[in-house]
């Protein structure tokens, strides 16, 4: 009888050693590559500059802008309220509480959208949620919002609404404003007036 036990015991020990040799594939913190592929194909991570401008103007507390450019570029100019996490430091320990959180939408931006997207992919692999990329980056911000082009006369009303919003936003963010101290610009005397939607009188039969 004891022989049987010895055999079983040694079997168990063998199997236990086998367990040790199992490949370490459990990455609790990371999403699998297949899921990451699905994430990158989802274009909803891109937020338009208009949307972000509106949220900054509304002083939306649930948005956190992250400038992934170098500290030098950040110190020269950045969007109001943005924090600077250079792409190279994305994985540094000190920034993780900012990037890995709930309740706040983290919006990466750079001059274009490549570097911001790279930061987005790195953080998404780590399973962080609520991450976004500003579409077109600062280049698009400056060409679209800071220097809005007047739509042609034949454009639909929405285009004019968008234009007047961008014009107002460009004043809010400092471009196109008359000579004023920046204090005034940031004050309450500027209001973004959104046009009320006109009732669709043209519609019915």
């Amino acid at each position: 009888m004891s022989k049987v036990y010895i055999i079983f015991a040694s079997l168990l020990i063998l199997v236990a050693f086998g367990l040790v040799l199992l490949p370490d594939t459990e990455h609790e913190d990371q999403i699998p590559p297949e899921a990451l592929l699905k994430e990158i194909m989802n274009q909803s991570r891109f937020l338009s500059a208009d949307l972000i401008a509106a949220r900054i103007i509304d002083e939306d507390p649930s948005i956190m802008l992250v400038d992934v450019r170098t500290a030098e570029a950040y110190n020269s100019y950045s969007l109001p309220g943005a924090i600077n996490i250079p792409l190279k430091e994305t994985l540094d320990e000190e920034w993780q509480p900012y990037l890995n959180q709930r309740g706040v939408d983290v919006v990466f931006f750079s001059n274009g959208d490549l570097f911001a997207d790279q930061a987005w992919i790195l953080c998404s692999r780590l399973g962080y949620k609520n991450l976004y990329v500003m579409e077109g980056g600062l280049n698009q911000w400056f060409t679209q919002i800071m220097q809005p082009t007047v739509p042609p006369d034949t454009s639909p009303n929405e285009d004019f609404d968008l234009y007047s919003f961008r014009k107002a936003a460009s004043i809010y963010f400092g471009g196109g404003a008359p000579a004023q101290s920046t204090q005034d610009i940031k004050g309450e005397n500027i209001q973004i007036i959104r046009r009320e939607k006109k009732t669709a009188t043209a519609g019915g039969c």
């Binding site: 199992l22 297949e34 592929l37 600077n84 001059n111 692999r125 400056f142 404003a177 000579a179």
Partner: protein, 212 residues
């Protein structure tokens, strides 16, 4: 008699135990895809200029003296049919982890063939490249600028093999100067407001994971 049942129970229990473990080993399936690169290593790869190929270099690698590279068009089939670069193979982004495609990638890696990925712009090719790079394909490169800029260079004959800045990251203007000029005042230095941090509390790992 009592002694006998006791030992039999023990035997049955241990047999079942071993049996379950054996089944576990047999049915253990390793995941199809595993990251070969850590996030830190990936971050370093992002700044490695060897991973970016300029349009002119790409032409060299396909047609010229350094031929032997493979071009992969990551755009959708509709755009691909309208025109592509150097007889590139069309693999839409959604298909890059299909079994047949991965087999192809494995072959090319075995033959240490350079694979150049491109899409409409560099940013669209970057994301699939990052995934494949993290899966361990070190022979993959990204076409700087993408299809539109490459076509423009080939047709208009702009040759600038040293410029890698087709990625849209070059500022279109002096932002600070623009703001200063328009506002007539000083540029507001970015002042990060108090960022609310709501840290995610990690689930406590069970104590048993710790060993002795």
């Amino acid at each position: 008699m009592k002694e006998l049942t006791k030992t039999r129970r023990l035997t049955i229990a241990s047999v079942i135990f071993v049996f379950i473990l054996v089944i576990g080993f047999v049915t253990f399936r390793s995941p199809d895809f595993v990251y070969k690169l850590s996030t830190k290593a990936t971050l370093e790869e992002l700044t490695n200029p060897a991973n970016i190929v300029s349009p002119v270099e790409a032409r060299e690698m396909i047609n010229g003296t350094k031929s032997g590279a493979v071009m992969i068009d990551l755009r959708n089939t509709y755009d691909y049919n309208k025109g592509t670069l150097f007889g590139a193979i069309n693999i839409p982004v959604s298909d890059i982890m299909e079994k047949e495609v991965i087999e192809m990638f494995d072959d090319w890696q075995m033959q240490s063939k350079t694979v150049i990925l491109f899409a409409e712009d560099q940013q669209a090719a970057n994301a699939p490249w990052m995934i494949l790079r993290q899966l361990g394909y070190s022979n993959m490169k990204v076409l700087s600028g993408g299809y539109a800029i490459a076509m423009d260079q080939y047709t208009n004959g702009i040759i600038d093999s040293t410029d890698y800045q087709y990625n849209g990251e070059r500022p279109v203007m002096d932002f600070a100067g623009f703001i200063q000029k328009m506002s007539g005042g000083e540029v507001v230095k970015p002042n990060p407001g108090p960022a609310q941090i709501e840290p995610i509390k990690r689930k406590k790992k069970s104590v048993t994971a710790g060993g002795c």
